[in-house]
Amino acid sequence: MAEFLMPTLGADMTDGILVQWKKKEGDRITKGEIIAEVDTEKAAIDVESHTTGIIERLITRPGDKVPVGAVMAIIREEGRPTTSVASPRTITTPLAPPPPVHRIESIAAAPSQAGRLRISPAARKLAAERGIDASTLQGSGPEGAITLADIERATTATAGVAKPVGAADRQGRMRQTIAAAMARSKREIPHYYLSTTIDMGRAITWLKDSNEQRPVTERLLYGVLLIKAVALALRRVPELNALWKDGEASRSERIHIGTAISLRQGGLVAPALHDADRLSLGELMQNFQDLAKRARAGSLRSSELSDPTITVTSLGEQGVETVFGVIYPPQVALVGFGKVVERPWVADGAVVPRPVLMASLSADHRVTDGHRGGLFLAEIDRLLQEPQSL
C-alpha cells in the first residue's frame, strides 16, 4: 500500500490546495501519470504519481488545503493484494491521521457592534479575494464569527472546487516564495563566485550554419548550446550536480537542469529540463520551448518543479553582461550567463573583435571548492569551442 503525499514543489512550499483529482477511486494509475492538480504559491501544478497501482482511496477533497507530506490518497501497488486485515474503506481508524485541513483562524472577531459582521480580518480578506459575500455565511468561530475555514468551505461549495488564486494574489505569493527561498539560501549557503569569459565565435558560427539547414520550426537558440554544455560539464564535475540534504550533499545520478524562466506578470520559475546531458540539441530545444510555454501558461508538472539538480539562468536578453546568482536550495550550484557582446580579443598575438560571453558559477562552499568550480567553468568553455560535438 503506498501513500500519495502532498509533494514539495519548491524550497519553501509549506502547503497546497487540491484543485481536482484526475483519477477516481478504483482507477488504475501508472508511475509518472498525472493524479491531481494542486494549487501552490507559484502556479497550478499537475502532480504525477510515484507509484503504479490501483487508487484505493482519495482522502483529500478538492478545495482542501493540506501541508506538504500529508497523505492525500492511498494507492494499492501493482502485484500486491488488498490489505488482508480489512478493506481500507471499512477501516474505522484512518491509516494516518487526517492532515490538519485548513488552519482555523482563531483570532476572535472584533467586538460585535449593531449590524456589524463578525469576521476575522484574514477571513474578510479571503472573502474579498474570492468574491464571496461573507454576510450570507454562518460563522463557525467564537460567537458565530466567520473564520478562514468558513470562507474556504463557501468557496468549495460555490465553485465545486477551490477557485484558482487570482493573478494579483498569486504574484504577491510568488514574491513571498522567492523571498523565502532566497533568504534561506543566503542565510544557510556559504556561496563562492567564479566567472570566466568565453569566446563564442565558433559556437555562433556553427549555430548559424546549423540553423540555415533547419526549417524555421526546428531552429536552435544559443541558449540551448549553453544548457547542453553545462549538462556535459557536470559529468566531469559531478559534485556540483547535487542536493544538500540532512547536513550533507547527495549527488544526483541524473542531470536535470533547472532553467530560470521569467513570467511576464512578474516573478520566475526554474523548472527542470530532464536528462539534459542525454538529449540532442534539437530535443533540448523542443523541450525548452514546451517548458517555457507551459511555465507561462501555468501548467507545469510536479517533477519539473521538484527535480532540478542545478539551475541555469541567462540574463543576456536584458542586456546584462555578468550574473552573480543566488543558489536555489537545496541545490548546491547555479550557473549564470550574460549577454554575448563583441569585444576586442587577443588571438594569435593580434587583437580581433570576437563575440564573447561571461559565464559565472555560484557554488556552495560546503560542497565544493574554487578549484573544482574553476575546472567546471573551464570545461564549459572547452565544450563550447567544439559546438559540433554538443
Binding site: 540553423n211 540555415e212 524555421v216 520550426t217 511576464r264 525548452f288 520551448q289 517555457a292 536578453e317
Partner: protein, 85 residues
C-alpha cells in the same frame, strides 16, 4: 496558391499571432516602427515562435539572416507584401 491579402488583413493576422505569443500585451497601441521586443517584452524564444507562426500562417520561408527585417510591424508588412506579390 497565394491569394493576395489586403494590408489590413495581414496586419490583423500578425496582431493575432502576437496576441497568442504574448497574451497579456496590448497590441492595439502597437507602434508600427518600433521593435516588438521593445514594446511587448518579447524574448528570443518568443521571437522565434513568432517567426515560426508567420511561416505557418503566410506560407513563407524566413531564413535566419532575415530575422531583423521582421522585428517591427511595418517590417513584417513589407516583407510579406514582397514575398506574396
Amino acid at each position: 496558391m497565394n491569394t493576395p491579402l489586403s494590408e489590413d488583413e495581414m496586419r490583423s493576422r500578425i496582431l493575432r499571432i502576437l496576441g497568442e505569443i504574448a497574451p497579456e500585451a496590448d497590441t492595439t497601441s502597437l507602434r508600427p516602427d518600433v521593435s516588438f521586443r521593445d514594446q511587448l517584452d518579447l524574448d528570443s524564444m518568443d521571437f522565434l515562435n513568432f517567426v515560426a507562426a508567420l511561416h505557418k500562417e503566410f506560407h513563407i520561408e524566413i531564413p535566419e539572416a532575415d530575422y531583423p527585417k521582421y522585428m517591427t510591424l511595418n517590417g513584417c508588412l513589407a516583407q510579406l507584401s514582397a514575398a506574396r506579390s
